[in-house]
Symmetry: C2
Subunit: 222 residues, 2 copies
């Protein structure tokens, strides 16, 4: 039971020495387990180290506990989101297809980093408070960046800063919720995925129609 896995040849030499090797292995292992349907909150140290092919004690060389590992995962999640944003900025050319293309990019990134987004969706509610706040702050950052882009593209000239920020906040939330739809269907179910894509796009369109008529329409109700 101890060395169930060790099909290697010369791994038998006790220790290996790549820089953050084991650390990455542990984080990846946690993500793998999440990807397999486990909930992050239910993962244990031993379980993760087992999945990573590492002895339990090694865990403590890199993390204090599972929450700590979760926090570091949030940081990496931030990188993934920034990559996504960069790609969106580079690829969305005409304004009229802005939403379709953005949603498309989002969906393909989710597919490419399924476990990561699974972890994000899980962390949003529950889990350690720190992880929760981390994810929330990533979303805020995303929303303000989106607002900046819309300003830059002159697509929201009639909105006050506060109203624009609110709109973007709502956009990000809607997309984040679609995330849970997307993660609920199998990655091969192209039909369902397309349904999510269409629905999300229409949500965004509805929101922007609302934004376009915002000031003019409702001002009375505070």
């Amino acid at each position: 039971m101890v060395d169930k896995q060790r099909p290697d040849k010369q791994r038998v030499e006790k220790t290996r020495r790549k820089p953050g090797e084991t650390r990455d292995k542990l984080m990846t292992a946690a993500l793998e387990l999440v990807g397999k349907g486990r909930h992050f909150a239910s993962l244990g140290i031993r379980e993760v180290t087992r999945q990573a092919g590492v002895v339990p004690t090694s865990f403590y060389r890199h993390f204090r506990n599972m929450d700590d590992l979760g926090l570091q995962l949030v940081d990496e999640l931030g990188l993934v989101l920034r990559r996504m944003m960069r790609e969106a900025r580079a690829n969305v050319l005409q304004a009229d297809k802005l939403m379709e293309e953005s949603v498309g990019i989002f969906i393909s990134h989710v597919q490419a980093n399924r476990s990561f987004f699974l972890f994000m969706a899980q962390g949003l509610a529950g889990e350690s408070r720190a992880v929760q706040d981390g994810i929330r702050s990533e979303m805020r950052f995303f929303a303000t960046e989106l607002a900046n882009d819309l300003r830059r593209l002159r697509l929201a000239e009639h909105l006050s800063d506060a109203d624009l920020e609110m709109t973007c906040d709502l956009v990000v939330r809607s997309v984040a919720f679609s995330l849970t739809d997307l993660l609920g269907v199998s990655p091969e179910d192209d039909y369902q995925i397309d349904q999510v894509r269409k629905r999300t796009t229409r949500f965004l369109q509805l929101i922007f129609v609302g934004a376009a008529h915002w000031k003019s329409a409702d001002l009375k109700s505070r």
Copy 2:
């Protein structure tokens, strides 16, 4: 489930015999733990029975495993939601205050059933697939009921059924997301709670402004 625990006198006699006594105690115990910050996915049978003041074996008299308990909690959650809907229907009189009042009712119900909604927010992403689907279907039901109400109140006459349904779906999602905001702040922090209330209300207003101008504005982009 109603009266959480029973500081009774003559409990010392071995066994008691109320109908679903222990079953309710177990469900309540799970909710209590969730309310204390634990994540449902990380709860164990022994932990729950301990909190309920019951011997571990009793658990199996009522549930096959924790997922089963979760499923039954979803059912009760449905009742809570329906109560909320009924109250909203009874109390929302004038259409112009519709959103403020609805959001208010929502928030007060969340405060009154904090653990329940905590469980719901957690179950939305992650957890057993069955629980996830259950919650999702509760939300769908909620959305269609909302659509019916809006039809009945003649507040959405210019929208097609499909568009109305989409709008209500978006509304429910936005409110559900606000749920996680609300659960993130302490129940005594009235200022923050009011912030959430205002933000959520404005989200809904924005959505309905969009819905009001929907057909006319965007039809081309299918």
